[in-house]
């Protein structure tokens, strides 16, 4: 058993264990964290298969961005676990039927269509990122661009759905804040200096008291 094989089984076991734990734990935050563990283990398996671009991008996009937002939502929601589990036994038979059907189809597809030998190891000169880029920007450039445009449409749709003007919003226009100048805020007054006089002791004239500095002036 080579070191790579040991690593493969190790990460495979983590992946499967994490997936099982994800659907079985009660706390939704724990479930999301187990999903993160699954993604990391899957990325490691991809790295072992010399698909380093896919592995690293899985960590970068799904672990680093998507799951963070997912955790945000799960942590903020007030989830009533008892209500969620209501009627679990009622739906269980349907669920089992769907799961068995899915598993059968998956096994059938994998065993019938995907029969391949162990791929040969590419040398250290092989860069998966470069290979993917070369094929994506030549052969599949139109599907790739169309997918990008569809994503753009989705972004714009999401923004336009959530953007609304609220009249009670007290937000300040940053342009106005930037445009503030010294002249608009401070008025410099030029005036002649005046003789010091105290309104209370003014009648007594300039004695010792009047020469002390008055902080209120």
């Amino acid at each position: 058993m080579t070191f790579e094989l040991i690593l493969f089984y190790l990460f495979g076991a983590i992946l499967l264990g994490g997936a099982l734990a994800m659907i079985s734990v009660r706390n939704p935050v724990h479930a999301a964290l187990f999903l993160v563990l699954c993604f990391v283990a899957a990325a490691a398996v991809w790295l072992l298969a010399e698909a380093e671009f896919l592995g690293i991008v899985l960590v970068l996009v799904y672990v680093g961005a998507v799951m963070v937002l997912f955790l945000f939502v799960v942590m903020m929601l007030d989830i009533n676990l008892a209500k969620l589990r209501e009627g679990f036994t009622e739906y269980l038979p349907v669920g089992i039927v769907v799961a068995v059907a899915m598993a059968t189809v998956l096994v059938a597809v994998i065993t019938r269509y995907i029969t391949m030998d162990v791929p040969e190891r590419a040398g250290p000169e092989y860069a998966n990122t470069e290979a993917l880029g070369a094929i994506l920007y030549t052969e599949y450039v139109y599907p790739f661009e169309i997918a990008a445009v569809i994503l753009l449409v989705a972004i714009i749709a999401a923004i336009s759905l959530t953007m609304r003007k609220r009249p009670d919003n007290k937000s300040i226009d940053p342009g106005q804040q930037m445009a503030v100048s010294r002249e608009g805020r401070v008025r410099m007054v030029s005036m002649a200096s005046e003789k010091k006089k105290s309104p209370r002791r003014g009648a007594q004239g300039g004695d010792a008291d009047g020469q002390q500095d008055d902080p209120s002036k």
Partner: protein, 354 residues
């Protein structure tokens, strides 16, 4: 002596070599982290026209050691009903990516622990993992303040990661490789071949996002010691609290090193191609003028000083202003400059894209 050590090193099994390499990176890094805290207090002290720490050891030089001893002997308090496992693993999740990212950093020519093809992607992926420590720390503390603080902080990190990633795309376009060593090689020639000039806006975007990513002033709303009492790590004490700060300073050094590598040519000498060859043949000065780890460390130190300088100079951003700067200023700037850079690359504008 040096030859003997090199021979001994290469005779060891690969696992031992890797372990020794890790020690050679992590131990100096941890020392650097300890003395960065000291440097920060001194620099800010002088910026405030006071002396800073000067009581422990000669001129205060043992202050970081004293701080570490103090934190080590303090109790780690577990809040009631906190999730024990997640609560204690959050500091580890914060510091692990900050240390693991150093694996692909080349300290001198060929001097990286792992010379991987997709080094830049690896760095992006690892720096994006740091946010988990913050989210888990906030949630596992079983405290509303910690949770709200972690949400603030995580939203900031996720926002600035996008601008940072776009800035790295610019570097990748200019270098034509994802290998970190290859990016440095692509900048060789002279000082003017560094990516600082052609990618000047991206350089600013990268460094500003780096400051925001490390939760440093003026973007330190996560901690904001004059407004709120810490954010996500409000429930942590003792060494568990210290590990968050070790991670913050390790990340600061990492961002400084990355800025030096990606835009200022890492270990490349600024005098290459400017001084005549005779200058590099001089006995001692020649070695100093030539490429080497000292230039990398010097450039990193300059950016690290900038971190401390900014903290002493700028007032803290308001939260909505942070979000506005990230999404509405930095990201459009990067997208615009990627377009400009694409035109420069397409028309082979020299000396960078020739």
């Amino acid at each position: 002596m040096f030859d003997w050590m090199m021979n001994f090193y290469s005779s060891l099994p690969t696992v031992m070599q890797i372990l020794i390499g890790i020690q050679l990176i992590v131990i100096p890094l941890m020392l650097a982290v300890a003395y960065t805290t000291f440097a920060e207090r001194k620099v800010i002290g002088y910026a405030h026209v006071r002396v800073g720490p000067n009581r422990v050891g000669p001129r205060g030089w043992l202050q970081p050691i004293a701080d570490a001893l103090k934190l080590l002997t303090k109790e780690v308090i577990l809040p009631t009903n906190a999730n024990r496992f997640l609560f204690l693993s959050a500091p580890v999740l914060t510091i692990a990516p900050a240390l693991a990212a150093w694996a692909v950093i080349p300290f001198f020519e060929g001097g990286a622990l792992a010379d991987v093809n997709a080094g830049l992607l690896y760095l992006l992926a690892l720096t994006s993992l740091g946010v988990y420590g913050i989210i888990i720390a906030g949630w596992a503390s079983n405290s509303k303040y910690a949770l709200l603080g972690s949400l603030r902080s995580a939203a900031q990190l996720v926002s600035y990661e996008i601008a940072m990633g776009f800035a790295l795309v610019g570097v990748l376009m200019a270098a034509g490789t994802l290998n970190v060593g290859g990016i440095i090689e692509a900048q060789s020639g002279s000082m003017y071949h560094w990516f600082l000039l052609p990618l000047l806006p991206l350089f600013f975007v990268y460094f500003i996002s780096g400051i925001a990513e490390t939760n440093r002033a003026p973007f330190d709303v996560a901690e904001g010691e004059s407004e709120i009492v810490a954010g996500f790590h409000v429930e942590y004490s003792g060494m568990a609290f210290a590990v968050f700060f070790l991670a913050e300073y390790a990340n600061m050094i990492l961002i400084s090193a990355l800025t030096a590598i990606l835009f200022l040519g890492g270990w490349l000498s600024p005098f290459q191609g400017i001084l005549p060859q005779a200058a590099f043949d001089l006995p001692v000065i020649g070695a100093l003028l030539d490429h080497g780890i000292h230039w990398f460390l010097f450039k990193t130190a300059v950016f690290l000083f900038a971190f401390l300088w900014f903290r002493a100079t700028f007032p803290r951003y308001r939260y909505d202003q942070i979000m506005r700067l990230g999404w509405k200023v930095l990201i459009p700037v990067t997208i615009l400059w990627l377009f400009v850079e694409g035109v420069l690359v397409a028309f082979n504008v020299g000396p960078w894209f020739a």
